[in-house]
């Protein structure tokens, strides 16, 4: 096992898949000599050249649309959208084309395009650069949506995404790029649709995805110091969704908190909570709780931004309020 960053894990996945399959190419804004706004593609231009690491104009709709078109005729494009905030001008291509082309044409053609993009807040980037839109895509049949939380998953799931015959929204997180984790030396793939138990525990289940897995783990550490053993479930994939892994956990712990960096109303957490109560209603000893970002456009000022975001302390407080009196101090 080597310890590398999430960023390096992504880069390794891209490099390995490009070496393995000549139909894989990258396109996006400033991904070539510049190396990408977050340096994920750094060095790949030198290795693979301008046709396979293709810089584009600032034209998100054309970037995504061109990726779809190229995928329809046999290539495996990996499109980078600099941040998910910019994807809204391309959402027509993703929802009306990528997600529909297989179905509405009777399965005659596949669209093996990967759209990589980071979401997430916490960097004082203000209202237009701090959003979480994974739910917009997880809502849509025909797409696959994955949100890896660790370097190992980032690498293994990106390789799976590139080999998948369907459009995949590969959603990274700005705050994860510099995180470090162990990654197997040998080749491996991480399948979609399988959640991961990030930490075992008997008292309460915390369900999270992407960066919130780290926040949930931090909360679990704090809870452990107070004698509360939280089980943390990392969803990894939003569509297809593995609900059985968190449902089994909830049947064991009888309590659940769903944590999301998105807004609470109508969000991923709402879907998870609704589905969990369908799957484990008879086992629940408390209403399923949600901890999310405040329902406001993200403010710039640091104290305001921090107050808006879900932190470990909020999860801890929520957990303690849900647990029986013997856990409360």
């Amino acid at each position: 096992m080597a310890k590398i960053t999430y960023r390096e894990a992504l880069r390794q996945a891209l490099r390995e898949e490009m070496q393995r399959d000549p139909s894989v190419f990258l396109l996006g804004e400033d991904i070539a000599q510049f190396g990408g706004a977050y340096k994920v593609t750094q060095g790949l231009y030198d290795e693979f050249g301008p046709e396979r690491v293709k810089d584009t104009p600032i034209s998100e709709e054309a970037i995504v649309g061109a990726g779809i078109g190229a995928a329809m005729v046999g290539l495996r494009p990996v499109a980078e959208i600099m941040t998910i905030n910019f994807i809204l001008v391309a959402i027509d291509q993703i929802i009306n084309n990528a997600a529909k082309i297989s179905y509405m044409f009777g399965g005659q053609v596949c669209v093996p395009v990967v759209i990589r993009t980071p979401q997430g807040a916490g960097h004082q980037l203000g209202a237009q650069h701090s959003q979480n839109f994974d739910v917009y895509f997880a809502y849509v049949p025909g797409l696959k949506v994955v949100c890896p939380a660790t370097p190992a998953d980032a690498k293994g799931m990106l390789k799976t995404a590139i080999r998948d015959n369907n459009p995949v929204l590969f959603i990274e997180n700005l705050a994860l790029y510099n995180t470090v984790g162990e990654v197997p030396e040998e080749e491996y793939l991480v399948p979609f649709g399988k959640a991961r138990i990030a930490r075992e525990g008997r008292d309460i289940t915390i369900v999270a995805h992407s960066r919130m897995v780290l926040t949930a783990m931090e909360a679990a550490d704090k809870l452990a110091k107070e004698g509360i053993e939280a089980e943390v479930v990392d969803l990894r994939t939003l569509r297809p969704l593995d609900i059985q892994t968190p449902a089994e956990s909830v049947r064991k712990t009888t309590r659940a908190i769903v944590v999301g960096e998105d807004w609470r109303s109508y969000g991923v957490s709402a879907e998870i909570a609704a589905t969990l109560q369908e799957e484990a209603f008879d086992y629940l000893d408390a209403p399923i709780a949600r901890v999310n970002t405040a329902g406001i456009p993200m403010p710039y000022s640091k104290p305001l931004e921090s107050a808006a975001l879900p932190h470990a302390d909020k999860i801890v407080a929520t957990a303690k309020a849900m647990l029986p009196r013997r856990f409360r101090k």
């Binding site: 190419f25 046709e51 293709k54 584009t56 104009p57 034209s59 709709e61 054309a62 995504v64 649309g65 061109a66 990726g67 779809i68 078109g69 190229a70 995928a71 329809m72 005729v73 046999g74 290539l75 494009p77 001008v89 027509d92 291509q93 009306n96 084309n97 082309i101 297989s102 179905y103 509405m104 044409f105 009777g106 399965g107 005659q108 053609v109 596949c110 669209v111 093996p112 049949p141 025909g142 696959k144 015959n165 369907n166 399948p191 979609f192 649709g193 569509r239 297809p240």
Partner: protein, 363 residues
Amino acid sequence: MVMKPAEPRRAPELSAESAVGGSAQSPPGAGFLTPDRQAQLLHWYEQMVLIRQFEEAAAEMYTRAKIGGYLHLNIGEEATVVGSMGALAPQDYVFSNYREHGHAIVRGVSPRAVMAELFGKATGTSKGRGGSMHIFDVEKRFLGGYGIVGGALPLAVGAGFAMTYQSSDAIVMSVFGDGSTNIGAFHESLNMAELWKTPVVFLCVNNLYAMGKSVAEETPVTEIWRKACAYDMAAERVDGMDLLAVYEATTRAADRARQDRRPTLLEAVTYRYRGHSMADAGTYRTAEEVEHWRRRDPIVTFRGKLISVGLIDEAGVDEIDKRVEEIVTDAVEFADQSPFPDLSTLYDFIYCESAEEREVTGG
């Protein structure tokens, strides 16, 4: 006005005024009507007749509620459809919009399968999942009708890029209407297509109306071909009621794509006799205007030319009419008698995957 880098060609006899006014012009390409091309010319004529009759039958089936949803017809645009498709090679790809029955049929898609798709039947091109706006045939490289105005243009750019990437000699045609040229996807696509030197022919079927709005009410640049100058792209405007003019202009654009790896914006000025869809009575146009364009009917005009040079006679015309009638009748009967898709297949085709993978993705 000179447009670089590729010399633009603009049919000189077709000014904006005359195009919109629809006055008949002397045909470019009259020298094309020679006996050695008789088979090709008669085939094109027959294809125009086929589109006309197919669309008239579709309209009738719509009024009989055999066809649901929206129905956008190519009636009046036959010369543009046949002339443009006729200039493409079998290996080329076509992306179209929701007014695409004719393009699909001329591309070689079976009229039976197209009509069955309109009927929502399992035997339709898209197995009943698509309908009128979503005809598709991967074998004929007809990569679909799309329902969002301008939405398919970026796909054509990507496919064009792929042709160069794969060292293929195939080119890509993107068909769209005048209304599409005011949406962002059009501008992003033209910019990227020229920047990347992609082999794409952008064919704007300018039928003078975007639903109920005339071109002049929608854009200050009513000569659509001129919009290409913003991207330094070769462009041409052609009389879309003249099959040979469209064929020749498309051939020039296709050659530029295939040999020079350069895109072209080709504008064909034409007219739809019917409303935007079957739900549109076309009240925003005067009867005189419609009648004016009907007098330039592409089928009547082309037939007249063929007769005048002796390539067909009245008996030959009748024979083609009869043959086409049989094809269309057969298509309607086939569609009518075909089964609807089985309800157990409701969730098929959401994803391209094996049965094991489907277990994971579910509905």
